[in-house]
Symmetry: C2
Subunit: 344 residues, 2 copies
DNA sequence: CGCGGCATCCAAAGCGCTTTGGAAATGATT
DNA sequence: AATCATTTCCAAAGCGCTTTGGATGCCGCG
């Protein structure tokens, strides 16, 4: 059942039926009722492709997800919650989400294709690196886009929403320093990512401000998995000068750190303290009620919602100036932190 | 730059240019070269909507993800890995993935719309329940679809790929029984899900075969989060007749169970054994090398790949008979299991 | 009574592609 | 040289929608 058939059956022109269905004023209310009833009865839905071709809007928003044998973004812990939040907002506005999975090497081509093909009206950029080339690319392609995170060294303005990773890690590290910890391990995410750089900067700033030297022996950077947290923490704990506290970039490696601590017959929050960044991942919540880990918390799902809203606004008015938001993480105190143990 | 402009510039008809680009034989090889070069030079990509409108194929595959305030599928641990695998295969075949996020109540409508609008050429059904209504719906809508999992009580044939959950849990429970455990807790996923029912059936079958009574006091069912595993295990461990072993439906609650065991100053694999189902989630791997948990393992990413392949085959030949695959999980032995502790 | 204004509807022209049904040119065959 | 098959190309008709630019009829008003 298409528009022509429907209009013939109603004895109306396609114009009128289309207008009736799309809520235009120049159609008699009685006629509109009749049209809507008929459309309902035949379960009529306008063809999205025809509609898109006529209007020039695809009503789809693109997310490009690079993958490789080693790692990929979709398996990044925070990704699924982010798109969950974004997807909600898309749905409210009649948009669908287009996910394009591509090899790392083909990423640029994927952006180009999606835009040139006209498959999407806007795009979200995930996991920006420093000086991320995708920002310039999308500007060149002249399509609305929104960055989840920030890209250091990109000077032209662009739309982004980021959490203030540096101040979050600065504060969290200060919190440990205030508890008397002087040797604090950093178990960071992959420092290809801009946010990981910022977290390290916050960590280092806090140490430096107290006159504690940066020691790369107790600093790691990698994809944020549980075994990574475990092995990194094990190495440090069994070293000559083990840390008394850890800063972790996500709750996932933090779970590994916990396992490492307990495997050394030490107790979390007493012998060794742990603070992590908590993205409030829905299936990996930081406890119910009292937090498991003392953490810098910021909901990635909320970020997804907000990015989607702002992107849709940008699509609606592409001439609007770029907007940016910088969210502060909140520091929640759980049972994973305590005073530094007395030295022997 | 569209087809007309390109063809005018080349002094050729749209027909010839289109055919040259799409690899049809009735075009001179020299001409084809010239066309391809020009297309490349102008960075020309045919409009997807126009193409879809003309061919009737959207080259998109739909995934409907219901969400609610409580839980949603996208945040389900296994989901992101599944779509990661599926997305790879889609990309290889020129398909894109369309994700539609909808309220639980609107799920049926979402399927209807996506199909009627012509936005998708096929669909994947996630997380089937018993007697899942979506199967009948998609048959009525007459669109190729593929189910990840199975739906008990649906008698008409349909495409699916499932892991033999029952036999996996049967074998795993037998493994614990062989180690002398007689009181084994079950920390299952939500039993709205078909697979959770099957896992429980496997667990119960193993117990019954040894003449051990089913005791619902040590059986739980819920969304598979870490805190759920923790609190469920805590309750059981502090009860009058605590289990000496646990079966968990995923590695995520298993991590919670581990935390619960250690919070009771007990040791995993010595005082209390744990076996979980391991979906081989990429950022939550079951250790590196030696498994953390003894587990029934089956890669959900591989399942995603395979579902995508089979769905694409079905789209290519919609008259083909439904296919189904039932994968066996492998039982991998880690450090989380050991002989039942001697009774006092 | 004639005219402007309003409400309601419609014919037709796109949107950018694919594909059908030839046409023209070329080469091979008799 | 005439015929026929091939190769190579093209004009034009869709695909199903939106939207422009009227047309029609009806009303009130001077």
């Amino acid at each position: 059942m298409n528009l022509r058939q429907l209009s013939e059956e109603l004895g109306l022109s396609q114009t009128t039926v289309s207008r009736a269905l799309n809520g235009y004023p120049e159609v008699n209310e009685a006629t509109r009722q009749r049209v809507q009833a008929a459309a309902e009865a035949h379960n009529y839905r306008p063809s999205q492709q025809a509609k898109s071709l006529a209007t020039g809007k695809s009503m789809q928003i693109g997310h490009v997800i690079p993958f490789s044998a080693q790692h990929d973004m979709v398996s990044n812990v925070v990704f699924s919650d982010f798109i969950g939040g974004a997807g909600e907002v898309y749905a409210q506005h009649g948009y669908d989400m287009l996910l394009s999975m591509v090899n790392f090497d083909d990423e640029e081509r994927a952006y180009r294709e999606l835009v040139r093909k006209g498959s999407v009206d806007g795009m979200i950029v995930h996991g920006p690196t420093q000086d991320d080339p995708r920002i310039a690319l999308l500007k060149e392609l002249d399509i609305p886009f929104f960055v989840h995170g920030r890209s250091t060294h990109v000077t032209t303005p662009y739309n982004y929403l980021d959490v203030n990773s540096k101040s979050a890690f600065r504060r969290a590290t200060d919190f440990l320093l205030d508890l008397g910890h002087e040797r604090i391990g950093l178990i960071n995410g992959s420092e290809r990512m801009d946010f990981a750089q910022r977290r390290r900067a916050g960590y280092e700033a806090a140490l430096t401000a107290r006159g504690i030297a940066i020691d790369t022996d107790i600093m790691r950077s990698n994809e944020m998995t549980e075994p990574y947290g475990f092995s990194a923490a094990c190495e440090m704990l069994t070293s000559e000068n083990p840390p008394t506290a850890f800063m972790a970039s996500s709750i996932v490696p933090a779970l590994g750190i916990r396992r490492a601590i307990e495997s050394q017959n030490l107790t979390v929050g007493r012998d060794v303290s742990v603070i992590c960044f908590d993205d409030a991942i829905s299936y990996m919540p930081n406890g119910e009620g009292e937090p498991i880990f003392t953490a810098a918390r910021s909901s990635v799902r909320d970020a997804g919602r907000r990015c989607a809203e702002l992107l849709i606004a940008q699509i609606a008015d592409p001439t609007a100036d770029p907007v940016s938001e910088l969210w502060d993480a909140e520091l929640v105190v759980g049972r994973s932190t305590g005073p530094a143990p007395k030295k022997d």
